[in-house]
Symmetry: C2
Subunit: 432 residues, 2 copies
């Protein structure tokens, strides 16, 4: 399936005009960065990179796409011919997926001819903006859960395809599992889920429903206990499944008190190993509020797939340098008003002291690197048109999840507080 | 492409257990509704229905899907055999796409066997929750723009596939055009766009860039005038393109004063027909704030594709009735805590007085219809498994846009105010 038309029209009309001025192959560097973090957030998590490599691979203008563009008069015949041959041949480096980022962090650096790079703008930003929004929110929930497992179950609150990307991003950020089957198939993410209220309501009685579920899914299943009366349902659940019942799920009510009561009830019935899952409109704050409650795991829906208040993180894609006719690099940037940029290619380094991050140091152009060393943040993602395999598929997703754990562990301790604050470390530009 | 795995795992395990209890074919009615509108909103717009009919058509478990489910032990062999034969054979009615809705409005009613209906839950909610979130936000922007055209250009701030759905939803809500090419191809939505700052920065000078763009795209094009100095760029734009220049675009700065200055400048240069487009992080409030400014059209990005603060509208899918063994309908609902529902099949009617909506009247079960008549809100969408053609494709999208205009025109005048308030009309339940 071609991804080429998942693109803003102006990317193609710019190519049309650049072919006219003879500059469409001028070598350029574009960078993806966020001017700021979402309000009060202390760090962000890069996600979407592994998916993006597949999307770029599928960015080809086939007969169907070219015909539609011609019939709709979008660009000239010369440009159509150029698009028909399109294949990205440039080089992309970027922050490893799962990496922590800050304001100004150049999380993706795309180098190649102007036209071949600019045409990827919309697709690159779509993948990185949404996936990073989900991962950045999810990482806060993971901190708030303090080691207890989280399951993502928000597919119904996101576009049906976005849901698969959201699942993957939440997993990279440290969630353990998801309800989404396609994410299981495509990205190797563990899937979970047993039954909804409709299943209980289908039956003449809760008992009939529980018996059918245990017969089909085993005593290790999770029984949903809040269709009618929670106390009665917990009694019934243990009576039907025995003390080996896997878990009960609570999806409503005043959770802290409810959870404590259910734990005491289960223990009193001898079901001391039966776990308690809660799933009632949770976000990072309600998860944190349940820290003292005997919850065993959390299911999170709407808040994670919508970035918990920030469904897009404001990443932009900007031309920062091009080669002049004498082959030297020229730094460029918009200069008007509040959106003025910093031109020139960036080399970002995370400076650490005793293993703790102290600054996001961005070396601009030919400036000298920081004296105190640090961890270089750019890794190769696409080399002369060929995506680097280790970042792709289920393996890349798993590696990104591991990298996120390491990168978050480097943050200063108070970076993980949920309260609003500045970026956890300052962004420092080194210019020559 | 099958949509069958864009689904929560528990939909399939419920089928597994229902086959065990012999109730998987029990005739059921499920309804989609929202318990409330997003905070302060006065009405919502239904969108996603036309897309959903395609998604349901593609909901089939092929060899690939069945093999993956088997290898991962998701459900029993009996259930796999049932899934392999799956094809929705039931009946769906619902609010016409583009219809206005309120708390409790049963915007989709799905009737059929338990298993064939429950398995569509995730997909139905994904399509309706996201698309309705975008359309509901977009409709407020359309009101705020007070007749001036709006273009949707937020693809880069949404998942790449969600962006296509968002474009369609914004168009249904009254936007005129979009930057998204795939939405143009798939749904017949007019596309627009000319150039970004990168195009100007690619060239040695703004003049060189403007000349190339006008040569390629004609004098009717839109020139972006805020890369360096706006006043100088407007002068240059008219010098290069002549007074027949189509439009200038301003993407930054203090818009109300900027726009007035640019209008005066253009008029002074004789470019009295040259239009002004503004595109700087607009939402319904900033659009309203520009009402007195000589803006000709708006381009809206992030806020529309993210539902302007409400990226999911909280629609749920609930079993409300099933047939008992004696063939009579039994109303069912969850009864615990705050999420208690109203069981029984609903027949919604919009009651109008002198053409103005006064209540959303929902007849429950066999209760008598309202004495004062009104507009019945359910239309057939799928009849015994076959989608109704008029709702699909580009034609369905266009009809939905027309219907939205009619339905919004019925609202009381103050429903269109942007300030927070209650639902514009009350939801009234008639029970027997």
């Amino acid at each position: 399936m071609s991804t080429a038309l998942l693109t803003d029209r102006y990317e193609l009309t710019m190519i049309d005009a650049a072919i006219r001025s003879g500059l469409h192959e001028r070598e350029c560097v574009f960078e993806v960065f966020g001017r700021r973090l979402p309000d009060g957030r202390r760090y962000g998590i890069v996600a979407g990179t592994g998916r993006l490599l597949d999307l770029i691979d599928d960015f080809r203008f086939g007969t169907e796409e070219v015909d539609w563009l011609r019939e709709n008069g979008v660009v000239s015949d010369a440009t159509l011919a150029w698009l028909a041959d399109y294949r990205f041949t440039g080089t992309i480096s970027g922050y490893r997926e799962g990496e922590v980022y800050f304001p100004g962090s150049p999380i993706l650096v795309v180098q190649g001819g102007f036209a071949e790079c600019v045409v990827l703008e919309t697709l690159i930003l779509s993948a990185l903006n949404y996936d990073s929004a989900v991962a950045s929110a999810a990482a806060r929930m993971v901190s708030a859960a303090d080691g207890r497992p989280l399951a993502e179950m928000g597919s119904r609150r996101a576009n049906e395809q976005a849901a698969v990307a959201a699942t993957r991003a939440a997993y990279i950020a440290g969630f353990s599992a998801s309800s989404n089957l396609e994410a299981g198939r495509e990205w190797g993410i563990p899937t979970m889920g047993t039954a909804a209220h409709a299943f209980t309501l289908l039956h003449e009685s809760e008992e009939e429903a529980f018996r059918a579920q245990v017969a089909a899914l085993g005593t290790g299943t999770t029984l949903l206990v809040d269709t009618y009366d929670v106390t009665a349902a917990v009694d019934l659940a243990v009576r039907v499944a025995g003390t080996g019942l896997g878990a009960v799920r609570i999806d409503s009510g005043d959770l802290p008190s409810q959870v404590a009561a259910v734990r005491a009830q289960l223990d009193g019935l001898g079901a001391t190993a039966t776990k308690i899952k809660v799933t009632n409109d949770l976000d990072e704050y309600t998860i944190a509020a349940l820290r003292a409650a005997p919850v065993d795991s959390y299911g999170v829906g709407t808040s994670v797939v919508t970035g918990s208040g920030f469904p897009a993180v404001g990443l932009v894609y900007k031309l920062v340098a091009h080669r002049a006719d004498d082959r030297g690099w020229v730094a460029v940037a918009k200069t008007s008003t509040a959106k003025a940029g910093i031109g020139g290619r960036k080399h970002p380094v995370r400076v650490l002291v005793d293993g703790v991050a102290v600054s996001e140091t961005i070396v601009v152009g030919d400036a000298a690197p920081p004296a105190d060393g640090g961890r270089a943040l750019l890794v190769p993602l696409v080399i002369e048109g060929t995506p680097v395999a280790e970042h792709r598929g289920a393996t890349g997703t798993r590696l990104a999840r591991q990298h996120r754990a390491r990168a978050v562990a480097e943050l200063p301790r108070d970076a993980l507080r949920l309260s609003k604050g500045e970026a956890a470390i300052p962004t420092v530009y080194l210019t020559s």
